[in-house]
């Protein structure tokens, strides 16, 4: 089978078959491709294990400022010897002619015993025909030369002189074909592309993962016969607490647990009859002076139960399955497991046949549909339901039981003052907890960080 290659790859392979080891520069010449094309072509072939790139480091020698001067005018000591060719000369004359190289040239010639000093004259003694370093100087010239091509003994003297020699370390690449590439058949097809090559990542636009869980839970309850109702996020304390039999001095109503809106009070909180009957129920059962001003204080709802109870009080159905879903608030310190604002679903079943066992059955069915089968029920306490239960679900990964939805039957102290005559089963809980299990998140804050890295990579899980 022959393989389709890009034109660049084809040219490189062909050139390397003729001349098996080449530098990128040499490939440029032989293929007439640009340096960038060569670079990309080599990269592609390397990824396919067709090209082998051998990288090595080597030292390159070139002449520095003084080296070039000596290359052009000869070495200072040669210049001195040249001046003395025609007979001895006075030091002062030499100084004039040689300028600033006078000192070093005299020093070297004297040290090597190439000159004689008599009174204030200097004469040539017995210099070699080629001085140390002259060969190397000529060899390098204005080129860059690999260090291993130079006689290191002849170079050593020059290296000691300032600004004579510049030494660079350069990386060189040698490209060759792998064994596979040597025998591969190159397809003749023109314009084919490499269908096995990697492609850039694109990001899908999507709904928020938490929203997916919310929608899934909504869908489940709709198919279980529940209808969705909506209600306000800001509520009077009357509907958030008083109507739910939570006494006005209950700790949950304190500023440290509930968000109260600064200087905002509800004008109308309920019908006169509702207010009268709710306040009477509080006075009788909790034995305190119920204060309407306390009930007027506006709060950010602490549960969606206020929405359902208001709906029931207004509509008084004999038979109903309804739920409410939305943001609720708690004045808490934000941490990996606590948010000040989160989503809650809360629903009720109204009907003369409504029983605790039905309520448990609905819960079990719901958990089954979100994939949780190991559940159990424990008794618990809520101010507005009696009896009250909580669901415990077993999390295999954590190896422990986790508390999920709470449930119960609305107390007569809640339903009677509002004119609700049938038993009302109620259940509800936080959605983020379930979503955390689904997305395997350890930190609930991630849902609201809008971190694109996570949103773009989190798997859709259904």
């Amino acid at each position: 089978m022959s393989q389709v290659f890009h034109d660049i790859e084809k040219k490189i392979i062909t050139s390397l078959r003729d001349n098996p080891k080449q530098s990128p520069e040499s490939l440029e010449k032989s293929t007439q491709l640009s340096p960038d094309q060569i670079r990309r072509g080599i990269e592609w072939l390397k990824l396919k294990d067709l090209a082998i790139v051998f990288e090595s480091k080597s030292s390159v020698i070139s002449l520095g400022k003084n080296g070039i001067e000596s290359f052009e005018k000869e070495l200072p000591e040669r210049r001195l010897l040249n001046l003395l060719k025609d007979g001895p000369k006075k030091l002062s004359d030499l100084q004039k002619e040689l300028g600033f190289v006078f000192g070093p040239s005299i020093g070297l010639a004297r040290k090597n015993n190439w000159v004689d000093f008599s009174s204030n004259e200097i004469s040539i003694k017995n210099p070699p025909s080629e001085l140390p370093g002259e060969k190397t100087l000529k060899l390098i010239g204005i080129e860059k030369l690999s260090k291993d091509k130079i006689d290191s003994a002849d170079l050593s003297g020059l290296l000691k002189r300032p600004d004579f020699i510049v030494e660079d370390v350069i990386k060189t690449k040698e490209i060759s074909l792998s064994d596979a590439a040597k025998s591969i058949k190159i397809s003749d097809s023109v314009g084919g592309i490499d269908v096995e090559a990697k492609v850039p990542e694109v990001f899908v636009a999507r709904t928020h993962p938490l929203k997916d869980t919310i929608d899934e839970i909504r869908e489940i309850f709709v198919t279980l016969g529940f209808s969705e109702i909506l209600g306000n996020i800001t509520q009077s304390s009357f509907w958030n607490f008083d109507a739910l039999f939570t006494p006005q001095d209950h700790p949950a109503r304190e500023l440290q647990d509930t968000f109260y809106l600064d200087r905002i009070n509800a004008k109308k909180i309920g019908t006169p009859e509702q207010i009268r009957k709710v306040s009477e129920s509080h006075k009788k059962n909790w034995r305190y002076q119920w204060d309407i001003n306390e009930a007027r204080k506006m709060v950010l709802r602490t549960h969606t139960t206020c929405v359902t109870i208001k709906h029931l009080a207004e509509n008084k159905p004999d038979e109903a399955r309804i739920f409410s879903l939305g943001r609720v608030f708690r004045n808490e310190k934000v941490s990996y497991k606590h948010l000040v604002e989160f989503n809650q679903i809360e629903g009720v079943v109204v009907g003369k046949d409504a029983s605790l066992k039905n309520l448990m059955g609905i819960q079990r069915e719901f958990y089954k549909r979100i994939g949780i089968t190991k559940i159990k029920f424990w008794p618990t306490f809520f101010p507005y339901t009696e009896p009250s239960l909580q669901t415990m679900v077993y999390n295999e990964k954590l190896g422990k039981w986790i508390e999920l939805f709470g449930m119960g039957i609305f107390r007569p102290e809640v339903t009677k003052p509002l004119g609700i005559t049938q038993p009302v089963l109620a259940w509800g809980g936080g959605i983020e907890r379930i979503a955390m299990l689904k997305y395997d998140l350890g930190d609930v804050r991630e849902f609201y960080n809008n971190n694109l890295g996570w949103l773009r990579s989190a798997k859709k899980c259904q």
Binding site: R206, T207, G225, E228, R287, N331, M360, P387, P423
Partner: protein, 546 residues
């Protein structure tokens, strides 16, 4: 919810023949959540409506019932006595009008019992006592007190040695310098007179609801106790006393009565109540078909007493079970005694047809449209900060809606717009690849009668070529394709947007939103390096309008 530490070995001694595992398996079925376990110790959370579970004595009584070791009600055997008298002066009526009490004799008090009694006292103060406001308890060494006592008031110069102190302090010093004084002093208001209990020799016994006198401190050498409860309401005070009395009797004390007279006060009765519940209500609510005898035995396991008369169950409720308001509470007692684990969940076919709310349906449809246009959905808190909402975006903050005493600085203001949150999101993603396109729908708030809530929709696009035309095309298509709504844009100015690149979004000549290129100063504030365009429209005023 309050938490109490228990010891399995101590519980085993109190309950009778049960294993540690049986106890730990049964605790949740009393409504006690196990917080943590460490060898012999277990920490459980109990509901504040069951103050009798604030000690291991109370929990042992409950478990005995569940195990069937001892069932039926706990009878308080209070021996009538004339030795212990408290007379109440009418001057307390304006401050803390009621006192009640009981004497408990011949008990054994070890360190662990003292610890249990102290946590009980603290939990009762915090819960049903409402931080000592409604009612508070003092427990004293009976033998250090000479009766009769008087409950009266005194002025703030009155001196005595308070608990945990070595020297005499006056009332003002106690309120100013001790921890309890500082915590609860405000309950007494500014009144110059404060409540006090004095004994026959004018020695101070207690300064309710703040502190006892040091002289009556309970130690492991104490044999006999005197308990007083003071409060704003006679019934509340007696409720609290009934819990303490029940616990002390279970701890092995013999109870003797205290006589109380004067200023509308009277001796505590600590009596049973009778309450009738129809067995059909029980069976209907629980979804069971229990016989009267099964109901009665279940109630007995819940440490109540009951008998039947026809289909009615007549229940006898001890005084300390003041959490029982009416028949529905008895239904729960039957369920607990019967065992929640024995209730088999059943699903009954629904008689109703479920329906998603039309608003949710429309929002979901909008989500799908925006995804089709390449926009990613974001979710931000609606309770956010002034920095995000106003400071970073140069928006007018004069009508901000804030909450009181937030524990988190990032969550103090209700949003009146979604767009600022999305800009904040962009600033946290400058290292991620562009283009970045996001949208969000959610509730926004405004002060109006007293608060209006509307559903708003915002989108932003950030990349090197982002421009007005692009973002206008997006909102135009989203509304037209999604909802058949045709919008127009009209030149406008807005502090969030750049001049000349900003318009009002109009529907039938009424502004429903704003659109444009985000002002470069805001982009700089957020260190975003590409241009950003965005819009925000009120869905309540357009798509969701009836």
């Amino acid at each position: 919810m309050p938490v109490i530490e228990l010891s399995y070995s101590r519980l085993q001694k109190l309950i009778g023949k049960v294993s540690k595992k049986q106890i730990s398996d049964s605790l949740p079925f009393l409504g006690l959540d196990i917080e943590s376990e460490d060898k012999d110790l277990v920490r459980v959370e109990y509901s504040p409506n069951r103050p009798d579970y604030s000690t291991d004595f109370g929990i042992a009584l409950g478990l005995q019932g569940l195990f069937g070791i001892k069932t039926g009600p706990i009878k308080l055997n209070v021996k009538k006595s004339n030795k212990y008298l408290i007379s109440v002066k009418s001057n307390v009526s304006r401050i803390r009008p009621f006192v009640t009490g009981i004497v408990a004799k011949n008990g054994k008090i070890d360190d662990k019992t003292i610890k249990q009694l102290m946590t009980m006292q603290e939990d009762l103060h915090f819960g049903i006592g409402r931080k000592r406001k409604k009612s508070s308890i003092g427990i004293h060494d009976l033998d250090k007190i000479s009766f009769p006592l008087v409950y009266t008031t005194t002025n703030r110069n009155h001196k005595f040695i308070p608990l945990n102190s070595e020297k005499e302090l006056n009332i003002s010093e106690i309120l100013d310098t001790t921890d309890v004084g500082k915590d609860y002093g405000s309950l007494l208001g500014q009144s110059s007179q404060v409540p006090i209990i004095l004994d026959e020799d004018q020695n101070t016994v207690s300064f309710p609801p703040i502190i006892n006198a040091a002289v009556t401190t309970v130690t492991t050498k104490t044999k006999n106790l005197f308990v007083e409860v003071t409060g704003l309401n006679k019934d509340d005070a007696e409720d609290m006393l009934s819990v303490v009395a029940t616990v002390l009797q279970s701890a092995g004390f013999t109870l003797e009565s205290v006589k109380i007279t004067g200023a509308k006060n009277s001796s505590p009765k600590l009596q049973y109540r009778k309450m009738t519940v129809n067995s059909s209500l029980i069976n209907q609510i629980l979804g069971l078909n229990l016989s009267s005898s099964k109901i009665i035995s279940s109630l007995k396991k819940s440490r109540l007493d009951a008998s039947s008369k026809g289909t009615n169950i007549i229940c006898t409720i001890p005084a300390y079970r003041f959490d029982i308001f009416g028949p529905m509470d008895l239904v729960e007692e039957v369920a607990l005694g019967y065992g929640i684990q024995n209730l088999e969940p059943t699903i009954s076919p629904s008689q109703t047809i479920g329906k998603t709310n039309p608003v949710s349906l429309k929002l979901k449809s909008l989500d799908q449209t925006m995804i089709g246009l390449g926009y990613l959905e974001a979710l931000n808190s609606s309770l956010t900060s002034k920095r995000v909402l106003y400071d970073m975006t140069n928006r007018d903050s004069t009508k901000l809606l804030s909450v009181l005493d937030s524990k988190s600085r990032e969550h103090t203001i209700l949003r009146d717009s979604i767009l600022p949150g999305l800009l904040e999101n962009l600033s946290r993603n400058i290292h991620e690849s562009y283009p970045q396109k996001m949208f969000e729908t959610g509730t926004v708030f405004a002060t109006e009668n007293p608060i209006s809530e509307k559903i708003s929709f915002s989108g932003i696009s950030a990349h090197k070529d982002a421009n007005f035309t692009e973002i206008k095309s997006i909102i135009q298509s989203a509304l037209n394709i999604g909802f058949g709504i045709k919008i127009e844009t009209k030149t406008a100015t807005d502090s969030t947007f750049e001049e000349g690149h900003c318009a009002s979004i109009m529907l039938n000549n009424i502004p429903i939103g704003i659109i444009g290129k985000i002002d470069s100063k805001i982009i700089e504030n957020y260190k975003i390096r590409v241009p950003v365009v965005g819009f925000e429209i009120s869905l309540s005023d357009s798509v969701l309008k009836n």
